[in-house]
Structures are given as C-alpha cells and as structure tokens.
Amino acid sequence: MPSTSAALTPGLASFLKSLKTNPIDTSIDDLISLLKRRQIRHSRSCATATAYLLRSVISATRTSDANKMIERVQHVGRRVMAAQPREMVVGNIVRRVLGLIRDEAEDDREADFTLSEAGSESQPQTPRALDDPSEVLSSRHEGSDRSSSRQPFTSLSATPISMFSLLSHPEPESSLPGTPASASPSGRLLGQSHNKDIRAEVLDGINEIIDELGQVDDQIAAYALEHIHSNEIILTHTSSTTVQKFLLKAAAKRKFTVIHAESYPNNHEATHATVSGQAPKDDDILSTEAFQKPLIALGITVILIPDSAVFALMSRVNKVILGTHSVLANGGLVAAAGTRVIARAAKVHQTPVVVVSGVYKLSPVYPFDFDSLIEYGDVSKVIGYEDGDLVDQIDVQNPLYDYVPAELVDLYITNLGGHAPSYLYRIVSDHYRKEDINV
C-alpha cells in the first residue's frame, strides 16, 4: 500500500517520468510549481530536474541557431529560477547550459574560420592546440579555455593565450587523472566537431552535466584518503550524502571517529537515519543511498550529539567536514542552519574546516544581501502549532540555511580537487561565462 500512495505525491521521480510524455511547456510549468511547493528540494534534485528539463527544451527547439537557443534557455531559465530563487543550483545549471551553447556557437564559427584559414596556414590556431592534450579530454576545461578564447579572433595571437593558459592551468589537474570526471571524455577531439549540429553538441554537453551530477559524490570521495587520517576525530553535521560517501571512502582504509551533530529541528530525523543506517523513508532518496551501509557498519565510531554540544567538543576535534547547500563566488557558503555555529566554533579552536561540494553547487553569486539567500522554513518545527497561546504571542523564525563567510572555511573539496576559498572565483569564471551571470 505505501508504494501506491507514494506514487501519488509529485516529486522528482514523477517529474522525470512525466517529462518524457508531456509537452515541453507543461513540463516547465510543472517544474516551476514543484519547486514552489518544495516538492523538489535539495541541491542535487533541483540540479538534476533542471538539467533534464533543459535537455528537453533544447531537443524540442527546432532551430540550430545558437542565438535563438540562448534566448529560449534564458527565458525558461529565468522562470524556473524565479520559482525558488534560493535554490541557486537551478541558476547554476541554466548558466552552464547557456555557456555550453555559446561555446558551441563559437566553436562553430571558429571552425569555419579555421577551415577557411586552413588552406593558407599549416596549423589551426585554436587555443586548445596550445594546451595540454589531457585537458582537451576534460569537457569542463574545454569550456574553460574556450571562455578565454571568446575574444575576437584577431586577438588570438599566441602570447596572451599561452600566458593565460599557464595561469588557468589548475594545479590539482594533474593530481586527478584517475577520477571519473577526467575519465569521461566527450570524445570530441579537435576538428571533429566542425560540421556537427550545434543542437546535438549542446545535448551531449547537457548529458555530460547530468552524468557529472550522478558521479560527483564519488569523484569527491576519491580525495578522502588525502584528508582523513587514522585516529582523527572528524565532526560533521546533517545528513549529506556527499559527506557520507567521503567518510565511507576513508573508512574503508582507516579508522577514525566521527562526531555527528544532529541539526535539529529541520533535518535531525534524516541525520539519525544516516547515522543508524536505517534507510530513510524519503522517496526522493534513490536506491543507491538506500542500500548504503552506515559508517558504523565499517567499524567507525559515530557519536551523535545535539547541536548545542558542538562548542564543547570542538577542542577534541581534528577536522570539521561539512556539506553545503550552495557555494558562493566569494568562497562563502549557504548551508544547513547550524553550520555557521560549527564553523565559528572551529575557528575559535583553530580546527580546520573542510567543505565538500560538487562544482555544480558553486554559484557565481556574490552575497551582497545574504539574508535574501536564506530560506525561512516551517515554524512549527520550532514550537508546536498546538500551543495556541505561544502561537498567538510570539514570532518564531526557522531559518533553513546559514550563511558562512569565506574566512571561516579553510578548504573546499570539489570534484576538481581541493581549493582555497579565495580561489573559487577562478572556478566560477571557468564554469560560467560573464554574460550569463545575470541570466
């Protein structure tokens, strides 16, 4: 019986299912109302839904004119982003898709250009030719250097590009050849894309984004052993799968202790479930997570503590590992309520704070007004609605997120590797194009 009723409730699963059959405008409105009703929430679900929606949008457009495609995606993107502006990943995905289209369009033009020039010149002067060939394989970095090459072709002379690529060559790049991200080459080698349909290229690109969303946790987890050492005491917070996978990966090889703050009142049930390993009854949680072993099954000591005990225990903690809702361009982050307290306590005790987050959560937004980034949730989780006298007399606020300023974070680990908060702006400019920052 429960499975039947669960199917009734709209959510990510029902959206993805209906996406195949519904006309595109219906799907757009559908996603908007799902976001508004908070039936799709959490960064990953939002990102996945947006990526699938935009894929359908692109495949439904009958044009291969890049400008029209951009217009269309912008239009859809604006509406979807307005539905729940605090789910910033929606905007991130829209921006990345826009960037993809622009890249492909420029590629195309460039290709024409190089083809026409090819007759006279022996070697095409595309910037990628100057780059490390391994970088060509990584789809994201293709984007990055193309973004540097979007200047008119006249400025394509070798010097500025090579200087720039020296700088833009991210240091951790060499350290992750084994990770799936770089191991998922698009196969688009130079020269092959010339006569391809832009639309098909863009669709490929979106599929890569979708793949990335599926793999990001494992990619991040690949760095776990570099950061978690034997006999360390790690403090974490809320039920983030990214963090859990990260810890699990390390737990396979090393023994350490995890202190888990429960993040009452908004997420404590999920936290308890994560700690005890009972598959949470959330239907959006997908099968892989449901079968995931808890840390305790691997012999790790996990101590569940109330949020208020964080400061007291911080002096014993070696490292704080946090998940996040989204990461902002200045290195600050918006994460589950309670994160700031933890980060602050860690600062006082000089404990390193490590934030694990997929690149898709990285948003080109600067927190000029961070209040507006914080979602205020259901008040009844704080005090019971049945307490009539209190309900009438007092104002209660239940923020779902905290803003954590960049100076409280020591290290970010994304699927691209570890970065200092001050370096994030660089990744932002790699992933999003300037003209798309305001969609």
């Binding site: 039947t4 009723s5 405008d25 109302s33 009703r37 959490h42 859990q244 959330d282 049945e386 006298d389």
Partner: protein
C-alpha cells in the same frame, strides 16, 4: 543541507507506477453560510484574498500537493465569477497538476444538496477527498489515505476518514464560539460520537453520550482540542448515505452526527486521522480569516507563504521581520513598516505612516501620517492622510477619506467611500451592494459614511427574530476582533444563528429544543411524508426502511408513532392509486406486497400470545381510514392482504375485533363493518384448521 538524492530518479518512477488509483476531490466552493457578509454579497467567498492570494488557490494547491488528479468544483453563489476565475487560472492550463477540473454549477442551498447532486451525477469512481474551498493546509495526505485504504480493505463499512489537526485549549485558529467535540476510540481511531458545544447558549454545554459507548469500548477519548478543517477522505458509500438521508444539510452537525448515531442500523464507521504536525485550517469565519492570515504570514503554513508566489505574476520577497514585499512598491522615506506585513505591487505609502501586522493589496494608496495596525487592505483601496485603521478590513476599491478613524472589527466592503473625518465605529459593516431583498441598492447613509460618502450600513435581513439579528450583527465584529473574544465572553457567532435557521427550515425534525409532543407530531408528519414520497417514487423498501429508522432514531420516536406514520403514508398512497383508477384490492396488493417489510419491521409481537403491536396497527388503519372515502372496503382488503402476507396473525384479528378502541365511535364501527365477514371467516377457518390439526394428530398416532 546536503544533497540526498541521486541522479537516477527515473528508475524509481517505474517501480511505483503500477496500481495508481485516480484520486478525486470535491471542492465545495460555497459553504452556504453567511459569515463573510457583506463581502460575499458581491464576491464568492473563496475568491476573497488571504494574504493577497484568493482562498481557492490555497485549497487547490493543497489538493495538488496531495496528488489529486480529478477535481470537481462546486460553485454556489456568484458561481459565474468563480468559473471565470478558474478558467483563467493556472489550474486550467495544460500544465495543471489536475488531469481534470470540472466546474459544476448547482442550485444547491446546502452541502447536503451538493452531495446528493454529486451522487446523482455518478462522477465519483473511488475514494475521494471532500474539502471546502477555504482550506489552507500543507499536510501531505498520503498517510491518512493509506490508513483509510487499509481500513477499507479490512472493513467495507469504514466509509470516511476525517483529518483533524491537534491544537491546544486556546488557539486562535480554532473556532471559539462553537467547539466540536469528538468522542474517539483511540485504539481504532474510530469516531464514536460527535457533538457541537455552543459556548453561547447557556443550557447546551452538556454532552450527551450514549451509555453504551462507554460500556462497550475499553478506551474512549473525548476531544475538544481539535481543529476540524473539514478535510474528509470518503468512499463512494458516503454519497449514497447522503442520498438516503435526504434531510441532512451540514456535513458535521447532521451527517456525521446522524451516521454515528445510526451505527446500529447501518453499521458504517467513521474514522479520524489526527495530525500533530503540519498545518491545516479552514477560514470558516472572519476571526479565522484573521488567524489564518497571521499563520500564513508567520510561515506556519510553509511552503504556502506569500513569497512562494502561488499566483502567476506575484513576486513577493521575504525581508527581515516577516515583511513580504513585491517589486514596485513606493515607500516614503519616513514611513515605518513594522513586522508581519505584506505589501503588494504598485502600493504607495506616504510620509510618517506606520504600518504593522497589515496586509496591503496591490495598487493601494496610503496617505501621510496614517496608522495601520492589524488591517487588511485589499487591492486598490485608498486611505487618506491622517487616518487610523485598526483591525479592520477595507475591501477592493474602497476609499477612506482623510482623518478618519476605523475602529476594530469594521468591515468596509467593495467600493465604499467614506468621507473625510468620519469615525466608523466598532463592528460596523458598510457596503454598497445591491440587495436582493429590497431589489435595489439602498441609498447611502450620510450618518454612516459622512457627507458625500457612498455606502450604507449592512444589516442582514435574516428571517431571524430581532434578538438573533442584533446578536449576529454584533458578532461579525466581535468574531473578527480577537482581543475581545475569548471562550467566556458573551459574543455570539453567526454560526448559532445559522444552526437555528436550519432547525427551523427543516420542520424541526432535528431540533432538540421543542417539547416532546410537538417533536413527535413532527416525527409522524415528517416520516409519513418521507415514506409517502418514497412509495410514490417507487424507491425500494430497504431504502424506505433506512430512512424511516434514521428518522425514528433522531426523533427518538416510539414504535406506535412509526406505525402511525407508516399507516398514514400507505393509506394515502393507496387512496391515490385508487383515485387513479385502480381497484382497491389491486392497489393494496401492490403497495403492501412491495413494502411488506416496512410494516413487518414495525411489529415486534410475533412470538408472543398478546398481539398489542398488530392490534395497534389495525386500530391505526381503522382510524386512518375513518376519514377516507370507501374506508370500509379498503379496510377489508387491507385486513385480508395483511393476513395473506402473514404480517398480521389470526389471534391479532380476534384481539382487534374485541378491542374496545376498534368500536369506540360510530365512524370506527362504520369502517370495520365490512371486515366483519373476514373476521368471521377467519374464526371459522381457525376452527377448521384446529380440527384438521387434531385429525392429523390422530392420524399420526
């Protein structure tokens, strides 16, 4: 908050798609009450804005959340406006979460009529949800639905599940004038008894619970702390019950009460689902309007908040201190905007104005030095300089002049204009609406709205006596003004007047205030009318029986009265058939043959020697026929038919014949004269029979 989902959601979708029963919902857009007057004179209630969003949006949003696919929307008053609104709304768009949204117009005047109409239309195929068009809830319904289905699987008679929200003793969202009391068996979540306690009538603060309930159930809960948000999950049986009980009007006070009372008879059980978290409330009156507005603004109903922007084109943003503001608001530099305020697009607020706890619609113009506290100012209203509005509603396009004072509880309806310097005193209701009763728009009353103003004071023309009128008049203000109202105050809600209206309109068959005699006469009259109607319409005897028993139980009528009612109905029908050209015997055979059980079920002396019930029946027949033409003939045939059908036994005829009642008057003797031969024949037959029996006994030996 960490990500919890993985990319492969589509896989899951397939696994769960197998048995999906379409969930249907019925929205009662009109609840047939007058509690929102004078606003409802011009606009359907479910289109009144709550935090600048029409009420119906919240309800449909709730249904969409619940995964409902078919929605039947019943419009009542101003259904054309509602239909227009719905047709233009997102719910009609192809992206609507509802596969089907049917707008049904009806001429119903009560919830009961709507349900019976629905039953007649055969639209409902499975379990369905009934909500009124003013429910605001963020409750995921699947828990209740699963339990309901499980119960129904186990027991076909579990016909309904009511969703109730737990709330404390005092709660702003609870109805304070009438509190529903649920008697619940907590082990089975079964509702055993329901009653409404009216806090204002001195004598009824008692609860009458059948002693049997207490003795037969191990555990019972008596609960008064529940918010009844009128969300019911029903099986189609509920509709047929409504149809059977043709006089039920209200879903709780009559339907629920009645069905629970008749448990012995029809065996139907009604269950409760009490929720302890999530928000569920109904905007049942203006006080609730105030409370629910506050709840929505303070995010109790999250995600149903202004900044969710349920309506297309809304763009509210949440600022610090529960301040919701749309784009394009003009605020003067020196104005003060306090907490819990909603400001719509295009509204301008002048210098040194203070606004708090207030909802301002779109395109309002608020002057300088205005004080707004706890006010609800709807779209396009204008408030002049220096005016104070305190806990009042100013509806669309109303204009309040300069230096006015609007006191708490005032309701200023659509398009009213209040001149400068007028004081609108406590609880006044001012409108410009066209009045059906007077067939015109009454002239403006300068003493109310000032010189040059527009509007008159609204006084409901209920058929109530004066006392009621003043009470309900005073009440809407009181109801609205929280501060003056607590459980103990003497304010009277309009609900009480509504109930008494029902009592009167339905010939008092439900009313408990009438004296016994009167009550019983009413019972006989009602029951006879009901049975007669059924006979005429050819309804099956089961249904007639059901109606009769429920009537009997509600009126606590004696068996004698039931027989009286049955006899008079039968005889009237037979008379009518005979007038229509049928022969007496034919008519009698038709009626008694078909409805034999009804008569049978009113007799309880089959196994005893004394036959008082059967004699009583015959006497009643005799009495009834005494006033009818050809009474004697009918009496004869009826007696014979009753004998043939084995309803009345020989002994009864003997006892009847010798009963002094049957020969008390000349008329009575006249009626039974023709039956003489039948009784004689009976006596002979009996003798023969007995001798035969003797003979056969002998044979056996």
């Amino acid at each position: 908050m960490g990500p919890k989902q993985k990319g492969g959601a589509a896989k899951r979708g397939n696994a769960t798609e197998e048995v999906e029963e379409t969930l249907q919902a019925v929205v009662l857009a009109d609840t047939f009450e007058t509690r929102f007057e004078p606003f409802t004179l011009e606009k359907p209630r479910c289109l009144l804005p709550l935090a600048n969003t029409p009420l119906i949006e919240y309800t449909l949003e709730f249904l969409a959340n619940a995964g409902v696919e078919d929605v039947f929307l019943y419009g009542g008053a101003h259904s054309d406006q509602l239909e227009k609104y719905i047709n233009a709304s997102k719910w009609r768009a192809p992206s609507s979460p509802f596969k089907q949204l049917t707008f049904l117009k009806s001429t119903s005047t009560s919830v009961g009529d709507v349900m019976r109409d629905l039953d007649g239309k055969h639209l409902i195929t499975g379990d369905f949800i009934v909500v009124s068009g003013d429910v605001i809830s963020n409750l995921p319904i699947e828990g209740a639905l699963t339990k309901h289905r499980a119960r129904r699987e186990a027991d076909k008679n579990a016909i309904m599940t009511m969703i109730l929200r737990e709330a404390g003793r005092n709660h702003r969202t609870k109805s304070s004038s009438v509190s529903p009391v649920f008697v619940i068996d907590p082990t089975k979540d079964r509702c055993l008894h329901y009653e409404e306690i009216d806090h204002h009538s001195p004598e009824s603060s008692r609860l009458n619970i059948d002693a049997e309930l207490i003795t037969t159930h191990q555990e019972i809960d008596l609960r008064q702390d529940l918010i009844d948000c009128n969300i019911d999950i029903c099986t189609p049986d509920v509709l047929s019950l409504w149809s059977d009980s043709f006089d039920y009007q209200t879903p709780r006070k009559q339907f629920l009460y009645g069905v629970l009372k008749d448990y012995e008879l029809n065996g139907k059980t009604i269950h409760t689902h009490i929720v302890k978290d999530h928000y569920a409330a109904r905007v049942r009156n203006l006080k609730a309007y105030d409370a629910v507005s506050k709840d929505v603004i303070s995010r109790w109903a999250y995600p149903l908040c202004p900044d969710t922007n349920l309506l297309r084109g809304h763009n509210y943003e949440l600022r610090k201190g529960s301040l919701y503001q749309e784009q394009g608001v003009t605020l003067a530099r020196s104005c003060v905007i306090g907490r819990r305020t909603v400001i719509g697009q295009g509204t301008s607020i002048g210098d040194k104005t203070t606004v708090k706890n207030t909802v301002l619609g779109r395109d309002c113009k608020i002057g300088k030095n205005v004080t707004l506290d706890g006010a609800y100012i709807w779209d396009g209203a204008v408030i002049g300089d220096g005016t104070t509005v305190n806990q009042a509603i100013v509806a669309d396009r109303a204009v309040v002049g300069k230096n006015c004072t609007i006191e708490p509880g005032s309701l200023i309806s659509f398009g009213v204009e209040i001149a400068d310097g007028v004081k609108v005193s406590d609880g006044r209701r001012i409108t410009t609406a066209y009045r059906e009763e007077d067939d015109e728009v009454p002239a403006s009353e300068p003493e109310v709205v000032g010189e040059g103003g527009k509007g008159y004071e609204y006084v409901p023309y209920d058929d109530d006596e004066d006392e009621d009128e003043t009470a309900s008049n005073a009440s809407s203000g009181l109801i609205y003004n929280m501060a003056n109202l607590s459980l103990s105050t003497e304010s009277i809600s309009t609900l009480s007047s509504e109930i008494s209206e029902f009592g009167r309109s339905r010939s008092g068959s439900f009313s408990t205030t009438m004296s016994d005699d009167e009550d019983q006469d009413h019972f006989v009259h009602d029951a006879a009318a009901s049975v007669y109607d059924s006979l005429r319409d050819g309804v099956t005897s089961d249904v007639v029986q059901l109606e009769l028993v429920s009537l009997r139980m509600t009126a606590n009528a004696s068996d004698h009265q039931v027989r009286r009612a049955v006899v008079s109905a039968f005889m009237k029908r037979i008379q009518q058939l005979m007038d229509g050209g049928k022969g007496a015997s034919e008519a009698i055979r038709e009626i008694f043959g078909k409805y034999k059980e009804i008569v049978e079920r009113s007799l309880f002396d089959r196994d005893s020697d004394e036959k008082p019930d059967q004699v009583d029946l015959l006497v009643l027949l005799q009495q009834d026929l005494a006033h009818r033409s050809r009474g004697d003939t009918v009496m004869l045939f009826t007696a014979k038919e009753l004998y043939d059908l084995e309803i009345v036994e020989e002994e009864a005829y003997e006892q009847w014949w010798s009963d002094e009642r049957s020969s008390s008057t000349e008329e009575m003797r006249q009626v039974r004269s023709q039956s003489q031969q039948f009784v004689d024949w009976l006596a002979n037959a009996e003798e023969e029979e007995s001798s035969e029996e003797e003979e056969s006994d002998e044979d056996d030996e």
